[in-house]
């Protein structure tokens, strides 16, 4: 099994995300050949005009969606961390949706089974990242995220220190 720090997922930088929903449009287009946010595997949340962020599957270690599924319809790929769905087993009960802390696994409006980000495995790269006009989306590992957070925290500390001088 891959180690957690090698597992990649799509992360949005709230500083850069402007809430334009292009990720939603391109996701539904890539997956379903139609423009429809309800069929997107990434969703934008605008809490208020200043707080915008796209959210999608985090490919958790020991994913609660998989654990919650009473029909064993969900599994996690050992190789990539992708959540895999057996469409024949899923009956759309929604336990996985309830279990996910991020709202990243959703019920498809037509198939009535769940759908979740697979990093556009058929396209070779996540299309939302490719299309995001603000470069707000990146493919990261937990380690990279932690590094980024550390660096920005330290930068901020030193900027504040400068200001106080």
């Amino acid at each position: 099994m891959v180690k957690i720090h090698e597992r990649k997922f799509v992360s949005a930088d709230p500083e850069k995300c402007v809430g334009c929903q292009i990720c939603e449009y391109i996701c539904s287009w890539t997956k379903e050949k139609g423009f429809n946010p309800l069929k997107s595997r990434i969703r934008v949340v605008r809490v208020n005009q200043l707080a915008n962020m796209a959210v999608t599957c985090r490919r958790c270690e020991d994913p609660p969606c998989v654990a919650a599924c009473p029909r064993d319809a969900l599994t996690q790929s050992e190789e990539t961390g992708t959540i895999l769905l057996d469409m024949d087993k899923c009956n759309g009960c929604g336990w996985c949706i309830e279990a996910c802390d991020y709202g990243a696994i959703m019920l498809h409006p037509e198939t009535k089974v769940v759908h979740v980000c697979d990093l556009c495995k058929d396209e070779g790269e996540p299309q939302c990242i490719k299309w995001c006009p603000e470069e707000a989306l990146t493919l990261v590992t937990s380690d990279v995220l932690a590094q980024k957070a550390r660096i920005s925290a330290v930068k901020k500390l030193f900027q504040d220190a400068k200001k106080k001088k």
């Binding site: 402007v18 334009c20 929903q21 292009i22 050949k33 423009f35 309800l38 915008n52 409006p109």
Partner: protein, 619 residues
């Protein structure tokens, strides 16, 4: 069907009954969508002389054929059309955000709202299910609060809502309709039309896929335009934003200041786009499907208005700032937030306060008349107090909420001359005395004083013509721009993206064809642009307007620019205006009275409407 949903929803608010009709595809091809389709449908669904605030004035909501796609800026707009209570002419207003794309996914190209609900209500469109719900609990709420409450009670965060505020409920002529908290279909008082129907809000959820007719070529075009959206054509909107205009207009002495008493503001550097961005802009956000993003969100960091958050653009900054002689950005931002809170068009609201201040300084309105407010130019507190009163229609605010034309008439004593409007719609941030191409565009604009019907100011501001000169040829310049702007508002794409259409109408025709599958040429599009402007003209003629109404505000024609500088003494004379109007009517194929001739109507395929102007077409 591609591009168009193919359906029109009729809602009879008297009974709550709804029906769906197929979209007339002849209208779709000829009038595209947005304001073009809206005005054409309004004409069919109204009688001559209809009172704007009566149940018989239909309120029409339209989107365009590109709505709901990923195309940058083109997916997200919507337009309202009705007879305007401010102008008694055709009124229309476009807004962007998220509402338009949701409506397309719900499966409608247009919604025609007739009658009046018996009690405060809101319309809930959930794909095919359409219901009129009780809105008693929403009465008095702001558009933003209304949006949140509706999302909450219907239990879906992604429902989109367009709503009026208290100004609309109280039938103010400057009331607007807002979606996505800060995005207003602002001009011509259509919020009052919605209020007169007891309709507080329209909520929409759409679940259908939108698929263009030629997907591969369409996606190639999207890629190309996403790149263009990041380029020089949109740089202004992505960086300083429209507020950049403050210093540009001020340097050219074309920024109306203190209700047109000046054309230059000595404190412009205190309210500039530069200062706004440095001290107040907290985030720039985007509408649905827009790779440009332009919406400058400002937050007041300190002082009495600390924490106030709103969107800010040049026009509203100008109206509440220089036009009222106010040099404090925190107050201007608070004023903008109040306009959104009460659901008032912030341009008209600011211009109306500037008018009231002028009346006060001239002794036409006293401190007593103004409920104790000393409304000198530059008095920040007076701006806030007057806006509050206008929003609630309390005291003097009751009269001011009618807009400057009616307020001027009611106040009398010469106040009419201080009311700077065209056809009853308040002026915008371009001093027409020294921008004579713009002056023509403003004079003939079918919705009254407005830069967004033609953008003709660009010729003057960019120095492509002698801006102080009225000469032949300006008519065609305005005509062509009017056609383009009518198309932009009918597609609907965003005006801020207009520069990305490098090949102009050829690019737009290609976009239309790829999305709808209907062949379109630039020539045919130009004709549609002409047709949309002509149908507006026909409506206005039917409603009693004519050449006499294609005029300019009193000060523009009677008070030369007093400021020392490059345009001192500039004014538009009646002779100049007449020359410009003659030239414009000629370029449109209209008579000297501004009536489309039989030949013009025939050429545009509008013969069936010639009965409106029968007997009026003699040159």
């Amino acid at each position: 069907m591609h591009g168009y949903a193919g359906k029109i929803l009729y809602v009879d608010l008297n009974t709550g009954k709804t029906r769906v009709s197929p979209l007339n595809m002849d209208y779709a091809k000829k009038y595209i969508g947005g304001i073009g389709l809206g005005m054409r449908l309004w004409l069919d669904n109204s009688k001559a002389g209809v009172e704007p605030l009566s149940p018989d004035n239909p309120l029409i909501l339209t989107i365009g054929p590109i709505s709901g796609t990923i195309f940058p800026t083109a997916g997200n707009g919507h337009a309202f059309t009705a007879k305007s209570p401010a102008t008694h002419a055709i009124g229309e207003a476009v807004a962007h955000g998220t509402f338009g794309s949701e409506l397309k996914r719900a499966g409608y190209d247009a919604i025609i709202l007739k009658g009046k609900a018996e009690k405060p209500s809101y319309l809930w469109i959930d794909d095919d299910s359409v219901q009129l719900l009780d809105a008693a609990h929403l009465t008095g709420k702001s558009p933003s609060e209304t949006e949140d409450t509706i999302k909450n009670e219907l239990g879906d965060y992604y429902i989109r809502v367009a709503a009026i505020g208290l100004a609309g409920e109280k039938l103010s002529n400057i009331a607007c309709i807002i979606n996505e908290k800060t995005r207003a279909a602002g001009r011509t008082g259509l919020g009052a039309v919605m209020g007169s129907k007891n309709l507080k809000a329209i909520a929409v959820r759409g679940t259908h896929d939108i698929v263009p007719a030629k997907p591969d070529e369409f996606m190639e075009m999207v890629k190309e335009f996403n790149e263009r959206m990041k380029g020089p054509a949109t740089q202004k909107y992505r960086t300083l934003g429209t507020a950049e205009n403050v210093l540009v207009h001020n340097a050219l002495y074309c920024m109306p200041t203190r209700n047109y008493n000046n054309a230059h503001f000595e404190d412009a550097d205190k309210v500039s786009g530069e200062v706004l961005n440095e001290k107040f802009v907290a985030k720039i956000i985007g509408c649905s499907s827009c790779a440009m993003r332009c919406e400058h969100e400002v937050v007041v960091p300190e002082g009495p208005y600390k924490g106030t958050m709103t969107r800010m653009e040049y026009e509203t900054l100008w109206a509440m700032g220089p036009y009222c002689g106010i040099n404090r950005l925190d107050t201007i931002i608070k004023g903008m937030e109040l306009a959104n809170y009460y659901g008032m068009d912030a341009i008209s609201a600011g211009v109306t306060v500037g008018f009231a201040m002028d009346c006060y300084e001239n002794g036409i309105l006293t401190k007593k008349d103004l409920d104790g407010i000393e409304a000198n130019f530059g008095n920040s507190e007076a701006l806030i107090q007057l806006l509050e009163k206008m929003g609630k229609r309390e005291g003097i605010g009751d009269i001011l909420a009618e807009g400057v034309r009616i307020a001027g008439q009611k106040i009398g004593k010469g106040a009419e001359k201080l009311a700077q409007h065209i056809k009853g719609l308040e002026v915008t941030g371009y001093d027409l005395r020294c921008l004579k191409t713009a002056a023509l565009g403003f004079a003939v604009s079918f919705r009254g004083a407005d830069h967004n019907r033609h953008g003709a100011y660009a010729f003057d501001v960019k120095g492509k013509v002698d801006r102080l000169k009225a000469e032949k040829g300006r008519g065609k310049l305005v005509r062509d721009m009017e056609n383009l702007y009518a198309l932009i508002d009918s597609f609907i794409v965003c005006k801020f993206s207009r520069g990305t259409y490098y090949k102009g109408l050829a690019d737009m025709a290609k976009l239309y064809s790829l999305v709808t599958g209907i062949e379109m040429t630039p020539e045919e599009l130009d004709k549609s642009g002409a047709r949309i402007n002509t149908v507006a003209r026909l409506i206005n003629i039917r409603e009693g307007l004519g050449r006499k109404d294609d005029t300019l505000p009193w000060k523009v024609m009677n008070m030369p620019i007093p400021d020392e500088g490059p345009v001192k003494g500039a004014v538009v004379t009646q002779a100049e205006l007449d020359l410009l109007l003659d030239d414009y009517y000629d370029s449109r194929g209209w008579t000297l009275e501004g009536v489309p001739t039989a030949a013009t109507l025939k050429e545009l395929g509008m013969d069936s409407l010639s009965k409106i102007v029968k007997g009026k077409q003699e040159a």
